[in-house]
Symmetry: C2
Subunit: 545 residues, 2 copies
């Protein structure tokens, strides 16, 4: 079965039918704001950290599969005149799953375009995150291919996550009580916990004045109904509901009249915004969200040409990255992979280090220490200045013993206590990534950068000292054969020779180790030889050998 | 709007339409096996502990609401002959939500009966947990009210939880890899992790030989489909799929021919079973589940009359409990509440202590120390011997300081480290519950029972000593006004005068306290006066004052 093909001209992967065996996804965003998006508009968004600053809800392992996303519904407000056509549908197939006459998804570099056609109405939605912004744009273009005028309602819908995605997924009692929103004519603001202890909020805005809205999930969907057939879309009636607790959603209705052959573009903006702590409310002393700081951002993307300009800027950014390394080989498949898709993949890894995907639910882990040092070998030539910053972040989560937290949380950059340390190969990878960085850039200065241990001010030492401790950590921890002790595990995370997990529910990654003075790792021994050679070479060049 | 009424004769609450404002639930089981069941057959089951031994999956806060349950589908295998009737439907309304001609749910004492009628086929399902068993029965009776013979397929379906409900809800990567089942002609066995580190499994059996089955969710539902319209039910074709990883379900198909006016009963059994660790496999040394130990249980409920006998035994058990206290007042509403429903409620609290409900997702907490001591005042006259055991369990989770873990996990009976201690009113409630128990039973001997602290062998002291430490704990922790220090919180769990949570994501219950030597609790002071009076009275009676 063939589901898609590469468009080498545009650097896009084109999916030709919506019901792929599993959702096929793309990543939006490459700075602070990120999104996962499937070929049928499923997925979710977050600011920096998929666990701690989740903007929208997504239900992993749910049925129907891939539930939760960036949903648009189209409704024929004169459905009675077209009795053979469905009265409403999703131009991205999900969540209504009403068969489309035409469908195409294009996963590009940092953007996704989904086209659909049904009942003579053609649609195209371009989803992307502009550079330098903490927001995503959904640009919807509709074209009336009928011979008659079409009177349509466009509905957009997201379900907000109550920020901490872990708590959101598990703590129902709390979820029921804390949701809060505000609404003005074209924008829905999600401000749960803003009054108490947050200075950030989410917003969902439309380029047009909404003719109706809903912010209570139950009001929009109707009781005992799912996303496949919202009551509000079926009936054409929004409730203008205000969520007080419950499940806040952002759903906007826009009415549209399209003459035969007419084309029209509407855009939606979903964003994250922080206010200064002393300017949270407007007027001061009230409990009303200060929106003055965010309005200019929303208004910017209502101006003609701004979205197109932002999109071109994003395309140029990616072209620039691809230009850093281009090869030509006898095999076009190799060229395509090396010149486009591997670079793209490597940058996704730089951005997220596997912390959120359609397999990793974005709540179980942060940025891996080993992972990220390894990844760096792939992207150091693409973004050397960001590689430098990443090395210093990683080193700052190293412990004074030379060991490393196995992961750190991207929002706080602090080591993850739940998983802890004890993967004895971890620190050696830092030596390899630093060596790769220095070879690529010639920036020997990085070795003299002062970096704290465990992010504790006052413990700063040069990065070079950090590397020495990494080497020393291995040398000081050796077993009966004088090979390195494995600790909790080596690169084979599941080996766990020191934790005999015979109890249900024990996590292999976090169970307490039993006596750890015997099990050795041949793998770490091999890694040490490489790291030690790199270290010796750096010491020689610096005259410190 | 009226949704139901009390049937005082049968001690049942009768719900008259399926789309109640929220799911209205009942509790099944009163010993080791428990289930929550809504008026449309939603809910889930577990053995002892809603978090650690969850049998079936339930999706809180999902849409459509109340997804996951004990589902039956009826399919007209000659639907072409009845073109105006739906080809398949749910006799409990959910999950198909196809409107029924008749519907009634009766929540009784430890059982729920759901009746439905559509297309001339009347159905009644009785769900209950037999006394002394770790299983639940679904007894389905069908009656053909048509003038023609009906050829039907009956489908039953549950989705298994991979045991630890917390992990199941959050750890997708792991979920995808670990699922395992076995199937024989009438039974599906769910045995995830059985080979590695469990000796328990779940089973789902039918009184009839199945004509087809599925154990892969995707095979039963079809891709991108939900529970409202499984592909297998729509098509009439089961895949006989074996789940290897993925999402194990238990779905059985039984074909049935019902003459005009004919009635037939089919039963399903969903159960939990443990094998001796040295008899896990059959033959020994293989990786095949030893089913010899469970077959007699399954076979028992296939014998004529066994289900009816078990049901009558359950009804007699509840009658016996109700008989312990009956009042007659001028107000029939008071009588109904005191004589039936308050007793029932109090026993649900004894069994679960709020650890699982449609608000508490069953993964966030165990049995509350304060809660359970309070609850005891309500059930001590109903089950004094079980109240005694509960007191000793609670006391064993007390700490040597006299403080108490705020909660303990029902499976292990050990204190819950995640929530910890520091709710300074907690230990005083133990004094009240013991006093209530002694007053009710005259069992002064309980005060001399040796009980460990923090479940640590070797630390045993008399229960009386535990109570003394509880009193001493309060006396030794007083603030500037000589009133008791509040610690983390008192009965008002959210007061938290010592934790100034200004960081997003901090839990009010578990955040670290700041200096706790100032904030006092007038509430604890009042509680102390009551507890101290009870303690003094007990000391006097025992001649220990």
């Amino acid at each position: 079965m063939r589901y898609g093909h590469f468009d080498d001209e545009r650097h896009e992967y084109v999916i030709e039918r919506p019901d792929t065996p599993l959702p096929w996804i793309n990543y939006l965003g490459c700075e602070d704001y990120f999104g996962l998006i499937s070929n049928t508009a499923g997925g979710y968004s977050f600011y920096k950290d998929a666990r701690l600053r989740r903007l929208t809800r997504y239900r992993y392992n749910n049925v129907p599969a891939d539930t939760g996303g960036r949903y648009i519904y189209l409704r024929d407000d004169e459905a009675a005149s077209h009795p053979t056509d469905p009265p409403f549908w999703s131009p991205t197939w999900q969540p209504t799953r009403i068969p489309l006459d035409e469908y195409e998804c294009r996963h590009g570099l940092g953007y996704t375009i989904i086209r659909g056609k049904l009942a003579g109405i053609a649609s195209e939605i371009c989803y992307f995150v502009p550079l330098g912004e903490s927001l995503e744009i959904w640009q919807l273009t509709l074209h009336n291919d009928r011979r008659q005028t079409a009177n349509l309602s466009v509905y957009s819908a997201v379900e907000f996550c109550l920020w901490d995605a872990w708590d959101d997924a598990t703590n129902l009692q709390r979820n029921l009580s804390i949701g809060e929103v505000e609404v003005d004519e074209r924008t829905i603001y999600h401000k749960t916990e803003y009054r108490e202890r947050r200075n950030h909020f989410a917003y969902f805005a439309c380029s047009e004045t909404a003719t109706g809205f809903d912010t209570q999930r139950e009001a929009f969907l109707g009781p005992y109904r799912g996303w496949e057939a919202p009551k509000a879309v079926e009936s054409g009636q929004m409730s203008n509901s205000i969520s007080v607790g419950g499940q806040p959603v952002g759903a906007l209705q826009v009415k549209l009249r399209l003459g035969p052959g007419e084309r029209k573009t509407i855009s939606f903006v979903l964003g994250y915004h922080e206010n200064p702590p002393n300017e949270k409310f407007d007027p001061p002393g009230s409990q009303t969200l200060n929106k003055r700081t965010v309005r200019p951002i929303v208004d910017r993307y209502r101006r003609d040409g701004e979205i197109e300009a932002a999109f071109q800027k994003l395309r140029a950014y990616w072209s620039g990255l691809l230009d850093r390394l281009q090869v030509r080989t006898p095999d076009p498949h190799v060229d395509r992979m090396v010149n486009v898709w591997n670079t793209y993949q490597v940058m996704a890894t730089f951005n997220l280090s596997r912390s959120a995907s359609y397999f990793e639910s974005g709540i179980g882990r942060g940025i891996g220490f080993r992972d990220s040092n390894q990844d760096l070998l792939g992207f150091v030539h693409l973004v050397p200045e960001r590689a430098r910053a990443r090395i210093l972040d990683l080193a700052a989560s190293q412990l004074p013993s030379g060991a490393a937290y196995h992961q750190y949380q991207p929002l706080t950059k602090r080591g993850n206590h739940d998983v802890g340390s004890g993967f004895n190969d971890d620190p050696l990878w830092l030596v390899l990534s630093v060596a790769a960085y220095v070879k690529e850039t010639g920036d020997w200065g990085i070795l003299d950068e002062p970096v704290a241990y465990d992010n504790t001010p006052g413990t700063e030492e040069s990065l070079y000292g950090h590397l020495q401790r990494a080497i020393r950590f291995t040398l000081d921890r050796r077993g009966p054969h004088r090979l390195p002790l494995i600790g909790r595990a080596d690169w084979n995370d599941c080996l766990n020779l020191n934790c005999f997990s015979d109890m249900p529910g024990q996590s292999f990654q976090t169970t307490t180790n039993k006596d750890g003075l015997t099990a050795e790792s041949v793998f770490i021994a091999g890694l040490f030889l490489i790291a030690a050679a790199e270290m010796a070479e750096m010491a020689r060049k610096l005259g410190r050998d």
